[in-house]
Every structure is written in structure tokens, then in C-alpha cells.
């Protein structure tokens, strides 16, 4: 870690310019800040991001009740519904964010500034994760209270670890997508829209992933929420283990692998895509 002094006008004022890790962390915090603080200034998200999704989750609960499903499925739906907030956040506020920043004119500023784009993406991820955690927690707590869901947590330590692994892998995936989306224009928006329901389906947001054929479930495991959700259900619901897809240690092992793969791929791809986008002049284009 080092910092250097540089003087614009030595007689009047000097600005301390950080570099290295300190500068990287400052950039992360600077990009995370508007994610967390900005949305607190716009209170309408509480209605649109907590109340409305809770009603949507409730609809799936009543479907299960209408067809006479065992009560544990209600808990599965509430947990899955809460986790949809993270998938939405990764799709809309990570993957397609650089496209949106390009439309707003911020992307060129990011590139011009002497900061790391990886730090920008990490800041977006960190801010998004914290902000979304509030929403997911609110949906889980309210859903559990309204539908009187019984929990039997096997291990809080494992639960925390699984959640963190799933989040790191998921947001790593979001960073990877963000770099891919750097080259896209309006299609980025539509591709994000397209990736909602199919992922809800194949990741088993509203039912145990074990219901699918082994290879379908295994293929869906490339999305970190699939195994993260399955492992968390195994750890918190009395019948979770019986409906689990793989054992928890195996799922944690795969999630750890996904963390490494996605973060490494995001770093490599971001560097490549940034160069490619600059070369092809796509950083400031706005194909409408």
C-alpha cells in the first residue's frame, strides 16, 4: 500500500492521491455507497421490493394449499421467494448495470477515471448484496410470521457458510455477466428479462430441485442459487434433508468451486472485454 503527494498548485493546495489496495477499497466503497444510501432516499422500493414480492410469494403458497401440498412446501416457497430478490439484483443491478451506465453516460467516466473496473463491479456487488439482504430478510421474516413456518436449523454455522458461498459465487457470476454485457446494447435489457422465469424454474425457487432429473438439476447447478437454496433448505427445514438434491458438504464444495471460477473468469473477461469494447468503440455508443 502506498500513497503519494501530488501538487496542482504548490502555493495553494495539495491533494493526496491514494493508490494500491487503499485506492481499490475506496473505489469499492464509493460504488457501494449509492447502492445502499441511494435507495434509502427513495422509499418507494419498500413497497415495490418487499410488499409486492411478498404478495407474489403468497400466491404460490396458496397454490400449494389449493392442491393439498404438505406444509413444508410453504416454507420452501417463502425461502425461494426471498432468494428471488438476489437473482433480480444480479440480473438487473449487476449484469445489465454496465449497459445502463453506458446509456446514462457514466460508463465512459468509469473507464476514464484512474480506478479499477473490478473495484467498481465489486462495489456494485457489495452494495447490491447488502441492500438486497434487507429485502430478502424482510420477505423471509414476514412470510414466516404470516404463514407460521416451522424451522429446525441443523447448524447456524453451516447455514451462514452456505449463504456466503452462494452469495460470493452468485455475485461473481453477476460480475462475469456484467463484463459480457459490456458489448451488448438493448439486447442486454431483454436478455436479463428473459433470464428471470427460466431460472426460477430450473433453480427450483418454488419447489425442491430434486424433483428434476439428476442431470437437469446438475446442469442447473451452474447457477449458484440452485445449490445454495437446496443446501439452505436442507439446513433449516425438518424435512429438508429428505428432499435435498446432494449432500451439504458436496454442495458446499461445488459452491466453493463456482466462487473461484466465476471471480477469476470475471477478472479475466472484464480486462478482455474492456479492451475489446474500447477497440470497437462500443463504450459510448448507444444503439437505439
Amino acid at each position: 500500500m502506498k500513497s503519494e503527494q501530488w501538487t496542482v498548485d504548490s502555493n495553494q493546495w495539495a491533494v493526496e492521491k491514494n493508490s494500491g489496495l487503499k485506492f481499490f477499497l475506496q473505489t469499492v466503497i464509493a460504488r457501494a455507497y449509492p447502492r445502499i444510501i441511494g435507495q434509502q432516499r427513495e422509499k418507494s422500493w419498500m413497497f415495490f421490493d418487499i410488499f409486492l414480492p411478498l404478495l407474489a410469494v403468497s400466491a404460490y403458497v396458496f397454490v400449494y394449499r389449493a392442491i393439498g401440498a404438505p406444509e413444508e412446501y410453504v416454507g420452501f416457497v417463502v425461502m425461494g421467494g426471498a432468494m428471488t430478490a438476489f437473482w433480480m439484483n444480479v440480473l438487473w443491478s449487476m449484469s445489465s448495470q454496465l449497459y445502463w451506465e453506458k446509456e446514462m453516460g457514466n460508463l465512459a467516466l468509469y473507464i476514464m477515471a484512474p480506478n479499477s473496473m473490478m473495484a467498481i463491479l465489486l462495489g456494485m456487488a457489495l452494495g447490491g448484496m447488502v441492500a438486497t439482504l434487507l429485502r430478502a430478510l424482510a420477505i423471509t421474516l414476514l412470510g414466516s410470521w404470516i404463514f407460521d413456518i416451522p424451522y429446525a436449523v441443523v447448524s447456524f454455522g453451516q447455514l451462514f457458510l452456505v449463504f456466503m458461498l452462494a452469495m460470493v459465487a452468485l455475485y461473481g457470476m453477476g460480475m462475469l455477466f456484467a463484463s459480457l454485457f459490456l458489448l451488448l446494447s438493448r439486447e442486454a435489457w431483454h436478455l436479463s428479462n428473459l433470464a428471470q422465469e427460466p431460472v426460477y424454474l430450473f433453480s427450483g425457487f418454488y419447489f425442491p430441485i430434486k424433483s428434476f432429473n439428476f442431470w437437469v438439476a446438475m446442469s442447473a447447478s451452474i447457477i449458484p442459487l440452485t445449490l445454495g437454496l437446496d443446501a439452505m433448505r436442507q439446513l433449516v427445514f425438518p424435512s429438508g434433508a429428505a428432499l435435498g438434491f446432494l449432500s451439504i458438504p458436496v454442495e458446499m464444495g461445488i459452491l466453493s468451486g463456482l466462487c473461484v471460477v466465476f471471480l477469476t473468469a470475471a477478472k479475466l473477461l472484464l480486462a478482455y472485454m474492456e479492451k475489446l469494447a474500447i477497440r470497437e468503440g462500443r463504450l459510448t455508443e448507444s444503439r437505439r
Partner: protein
């Protein structure tokens, strides 16, 4: 009147260009098919896990058809309300719309037409898939086509009015990146009897469902397609088709008045607060 029609026509054309010309027709077709089929498949998988694939029970076509037609709700409401965000923050043209000699509600409703067309394709494909692979029995000779098309037409107007209300609210709020039309439609899923009969809801929530015109609209569509199956459910069994249609028309009129009041009030507030050309991002 001519201004309204002209505005609507041009806005519909513009909306279709925006929605469809971002890719080649093949990818657009995949996009239009994959999303709704996946949405329907979630319910099919949930149902098949619990009932061991008993697709020939009356509740299955009730759920399946309700879900299929419900795609119109998200499509139309999102199409109309998203136009505000799209024009205000992405294209930054909303301020120009306001200085142009156009009728703003007609413009926004026109922008929703493209989503309506895409939703129509999605509904058709979903129903065809259900008939072909999931034992959803629709006897074309027994379908009450008159009731079907009249219900569909009135329902689309009703949804457009709800979309206009949401567009008004959207004028006052920041963009939360994803589509608030979808979020509102997802929430109304609970009260509309789309995927389960209203009797399943707790008693204190049922009045909300009875006040929602979508409830009667979906019931009429189900009755027109699979009459005997739909009428077997007790929620609205006491009403005949004419009574249901009268209720739907009445509630549509109420929502039209509400839409006008809410939209113009929100628009007034947005002008007062200088929100017509605001750009939000976090």
C-alpha cells in the same frame, strides 16, 4: 378525438419498433416463447410434484388457463407503465412528449400495444402447449367464442386502465431497474383467483379479490373455453355469465374513472416537483 387516435397509432408503431427490432426474428421468437413457457412450467412442476401428475382433475385447467391469460396482466401493465421510465430515463424524450401536441394517456396506452401483441403470442403458445402435452381439454366446438372475444376485449381495456394508473404512479417514483408492472401484476396474482380459487384465501382477504375486475375477467375467459370445468368451482358459481359480464363492465368503468383521476393527479404532482425529466440511478 383525431389527436387521440393519431397519438395512439404512432405510439403503438413506436412501441413495436422498440420491443422487436433489438434482435433478429428468430431470437425474438425464442424470447417471446421461453419466458412464458418457463413461467407456466413452474406451476406445472409444482402441481405435478404434489399430485403425482394428475393433470385430468378440474383444478389443473383452472390453474393453467388462469395463469396463461394472466400473462396479459403483466404484459399490458408493464408495457404502459414502463414507457414512462423508458422515455424519461433511457431515451430522455418524455419532456419532448410533453411539449408535443399529443394526448399523453393515448400515447402511453399506445406504447403498451407491443407488449399486448407479445403477450397474445405467449398466451396462444402456452395454451397450445397445455392442450398438446398436459391434457388441458378444450373442445373447439363447445367454446363460447362470442363470450370469449367480448370478455377478452373488455378485459384488455380494463388492464389498460390499470396500466395507466401505474404509469401515473411511475411518474412520481425513481426507476428501480426492473419492471414495476411485473411486480404489481405478481402481487395481484394473489387476489385475482388466477391460479387458485378465491375460497383458498383467508376470509378477510377475499373482498380484495371480489373488488378486482381481473377475477371476473379470468372467470369469464375460463367459462368461455372450458365452461363445465370452470363453473364447478364455488367462488363465482352463483353468478351466470351475464351477471359476471355486467360486474366486469361496471368495474372497468370504475377503474377507467380512477385511472383518469390518478394519472392526471400524479402528472400534476410530477410537473410541480419537476420530475418529468428526472434521471435516477443507484
Amino acid at each position: 378525438m383525431y389527436t387521440k387516435i393519431r397519438t395512439f397509432r404512432i405510439a403503438a408503431w413506436l412501441g413495436w419498433q422498440i420491443e422487436s427490432n433489438w434482435t433478429d426474428p428468430f431470437l425474438f421468437a425464442v424470447y417471446s416463447i421461453a419466458k412464458p413457457l418457463a413461467g407456466a412450467a413452474i406451476l406445472v412442476v409444482m402441481y405435478s410434484i404434489i399430485t403425482n401428475k394428475a393433470f385430468d382433475t378440474p383444478i389443473f385447467p383452472y390453474i393453467y388457463l388462469g395463469n396463461a391469460f394472466y400473462m396479459y396482466v403483466g404484459g399490458v401493465m408493464t408495457g404502459i407503465s414502463w414507457a414512462v421510465i423508458d422515455d424519461r430515463e433511457r431515451y430522455k424524450t418524455l419532456k419532448y412528449m410533453y411539449v408535443a401536441p399529443i394526448h399523453m394517456p393515448s400515447y402511453l396506452i399506445g406504447r403498451g400495444v407491443a407488449r399486448f401483441i407479445v403477450a397474445t403470442i405467449s398466451v396462444l403458445i402456452t395454451i397450445l402447449f397445455g392442450v398438446a402435452f398436459l391434457h388441458v381439454k378444450i373442445n373447439l366446438d363447445a367454446v363460447n367464442w362470442g363470450l370469449f372475444f367480448v370478455s377478452l376485449f373488455v378485459g384488455i381495456i380494463m388492464l389498460a386502465m390499470m396500466g395507466l394508473m401505474l404509469a401515473g404512479v411511475t411518474l412520481l417514483i425513481a426507476q428501480h431497474v426492473w419492471f414495476i408492472g411485473d411486480a404489481v401484476a405478481g402481487a395481484l396474482y394473489l387476489f385475482s383467483g388466477a391460479i387458485f380459487p378465491l375460497d383458498v384465501l383467508p376470509k378477510f382477504l377475499r373482498p380484495v379479490g371480489y373488488f378486482m375486475p381481473i377475477t371476473y375477467w379470468l372467470e369469464l375467459l375460463r367459462r368461455s373455453l372450458v365452461g363445465s370445468v370452470a363453473q364447478a368451482f364455488p367462488t363465482l358459481a352463483g353468478f351466470n355469465n351475464n351477471q359476471l359480464m355486467s360486474i366486469l363492465l361496471g368495474l372497468t368503468a370504475v377503474f377507467a374513472v380512477l385511472a383518469g383521476v390518478i394519472f392526471y393527479w400524479c402528472e400534476y404532482r410530477a410537473r410541480e416537483r419537476g420530475l418529468i425529466d428526472i434521471v435516477t440511478n443507484y
